[in-house]
């Protein structure tokens, strides 16, 4: 029975053995590539001592020290002083107290996190908004020098961000936009615009013109056809584009480290500066990294069908 099944198998289908070998090799690669991810999560739940122990501890007693360190600022105190204090009231005070320290106040992590959210969502909104209308115009209207304009939109991505940062730094200093949320939102909006226009143009190109034409025969103006026909049809594409823009703004580092210092600093330049006693505080950095990466991981899973399209600026559609 099994032999006959084997002969009726289409020659295009890979054989069971080759499938098994392929699956084995992919699983091997995936597990090696996944080690850093596991390490981020496991280090986040280690104590500072366990994280820098030699040889490295794979399994250690779970600890929330990293998270406590991430959210607080602490000062070291003498044993005599600590004895005069009342016993710790909360679990996090207890963790800190065990290491001969007291909590001095909240850390800047939350403020930086809020900055990341404000700048990320703000820039995403504007780049998708301007991108959608521009993409519609590029898709449907005759625009003089259209191809040149589209290439121009794309070529802005080839300029190294560090190079662009110098004149933007000078310009922002003059306009008083240095280290401001507005300045960063504007900057990320523009950087994302090329992606958003190109991606959305691809999505809108796929909507048949007949839809609008039919609506306009029925008495719709083009504007209302755009709002009532095109926008709902392009909703999935707009959502995918928005997530791509958000991930970019969320992850962006080069502009952020050069143009923001305090007020508008986002997480990517902040996370590498989390230090504890005697160097980088790895559990706290891992905890921050975990919190920081979680939204991106969720978005990647949502986006998996559009990933390629987003990363190639719509050059590859699938």
């Amino acid at each position: 029975m099994s032999a006959s099944r084997d002969t009726t198998r289409s020659p295009l289908e890979p054989s069971a053995t080759s499938r098994r070998i392929a699956a084995f090799l992919i699983i091997l690669y995936a597990s090696i590539a996944f080690i850093p991810m596991v390490l981020i999560v496991s280090t986040a739940f280690k104590s500072v001592t366990d994280a820098i122990s030699y040889p490295p501890k794979i399994i250690s007693e779970p600890s929330l020290e990293g998270f406590v360190n991430l959210f607080t600022q602490r000062t070291r105190q003498s044993a005599e002083y600590l004895e005069t204090l009342p016993p710790p009231e909360t679990w996090y005070e207890e963790i800190v107290r065990k290491r001969q320290m007291v909590i001095a106040g909240p850390s800047r992590f939350i403020q930086r996190f809020v900055n990341s959210i404000i700048i990320g969502f703000g820039a995403t909104f504007f780049s998708v908004f301007f991108g959608t209308i521009a993409a519609y115009a590029f898709s449907r209207f005759r625009i003089p020098l259209k191809d040149d304009l589209l290439f121009f939109v794309l070529s802005t991505r080839m300029f190294p961000p560090i190079a662009a940062a110098v004149p933007i730094f000078l310009m922002y200093r003059k306009l008083g936009l240095s280290d401001s949320h507005l300045g960063m939102i504007m900057l990320y909006t523009v950087v994302n615009l090329s992606l958003s226009v190109w991606l959305l143009k691809g999505f809108i190109d796929e909507i048949p013109r007949e839809y609008e034409d039919a609506a306009m025969v029925d008495g719709y103006s083009r504007m209302s056809a755009f709002f009532k026909i095109i926008l709902p049809q392009a909703a999935t594409g707009i959502a995918a584009t928005a997530i791509f823009c958000l991930i970019f703004a969320w992850n962006e580092y080069a502009f952020a480290i050069l143009l923001t210092f305090r007020e508008a600093q986002t997480l990517p330049p902040f996370i590498p500066t989390i230090i504890g006693e005697g160097g980088l505080d790895w559990p706290a950095i891992s905890a921050a990294t975990m919190i920081f990466l979680l939204p991106v991981v969720v978005f990647t899973i949502i986006l998996r069908k559009h990933l390629l399209r987003g990363i190639t600026f719509g050059a590859v559609k699938r």
Binding site: R157, V166, V316
Partner: protein
């Protein structure tokens, strides 16, 4: 009054609408992209220093360009960039294509595995860079232990060692971006129509011949596009390397962008760094154009 404005908005001509819809994008790009570009070109001919305000800007002509092109350190930086570019693209193309061919076997669970494999490329390169610094730590880090478990090299430090540091950034970049090349190749593989293989089967072509004459030529344009996009990205590589090695030890991993940042924001040599930026931009644009022409010729075949 409001109603007439509303009516005008709804019933505007196609021409007006085309302008209204593209204008914000064009203005924003002019303001934050073109203006800085022109400004950079201008600054590259001056002795301006961004940390010295109020000093009169003097024209210095081609001084910076001359200085850069005859400076041996700059050539070392470009060599480091070329080394990084070559090996990352080599490994990513090789691994990416292999993984794509394997995933195309469509075994059970290949979709979930694809998502898992793809994850690293969506992460923030800077944050990834910091974390790999931990992984590379000679004592507490896992990397040395895993490597030594496979073959005992004894003690070594990936980031601190002059001969190993360039490879440390290549490994991380390959880890991050192989999935991208893989996805591109997968898209190429999925675009091959079944009848090509069916016809080959009827002609009794061997599997190897099928691979050579059907699979490879169909994937190649996708692979080459992936290489182009990775090439552009890695030529301007900054965030990952800046956090992982910071250009060190010494200036062994000081890629072009890192050199640019040191010149512009640490030494405040604005004129010099602007000239260097212009040179880099022209190089990317030129190399990219030549490559695209080659790609198109290949496609015509």
């Amino acid at each position: 009054m409001l109603k007439t404005i509303n009516n005008k908005l709804i019933n505007m001509s196609d021409r007006t609408m085309a302008w209204l819809f593209t204008l914000p994008t064009i203005i924003l790009l002019l303001f934050i992209n073109i203006y800085p570009l022109i400004w950079t070109v201008y600054l590259s001919f001056t002795n301006y220093k961004a940390n010295r305000r109020g000093v009169e800007i003097a024209w210095v002509g081609l001084k910076w360009y001359e200085k850069i092109l005859t400076n041996e350190d700059v050539w070392l930086n470009l060599q480091a960039t070329a080394h990084f570019l070559f090996w990352t693209i080599f490994f990513q193309a090789l691994l990416g294509l292999t993984l794509a061919l394997l995933l195309d076997k469509k075994f059970k669970g290949h979709e979930i595995l694809t998502t898992i494999v793809v994850l690293p490329m969506m992460l923030s390169p800077a944050v990834v860079g910091v974390f790999w610094k931990y992984i590379y730590q000679p004592q507490a880090g896992l990397f040395n232990h895993i490597v030594n478990a496979i073959y005992n090299f004894g003690e070594f430090t990936m980031i601190g060692d002059v001969s190993l540091a360039p490879w440390s950034i290549i490994i991380v970049d390959t880890w991050m971006w192989t999935p991208f090349v893989m996805l591109m190749c997968l898209a190429g593989l999925r675009s091959i129509p079944d009848y090509l293989y069916e016809a080959a089967e009827i002609d009794r072509a061997s599997k190897w011949q099928q691979f050579l004459h059907i699979t490879l030529p169909s994937v190649l344009p996708f692979l080459m596009l992936a290489v182009l996009l990775r090439g552009i990205e890695n030529f301007k590589m900054f965030d990952l390397v800046n956090e992982l090695t910071g250009g060190g030890p010494g200036s062994i991993t000081e890629l072009a962008s890192i050199h640019l940042k040191r010149a512009a924001f640490e030494k405040w040599r604005t004129g010099y760094s602007s000239a260097f930026a212009v040179i880099l931009f022209v190089t990317v644009l030129g190399a990219g154009n030549i490559y695209v022409k080659l790609l198109n010729k290949l496609k015509e075949k």
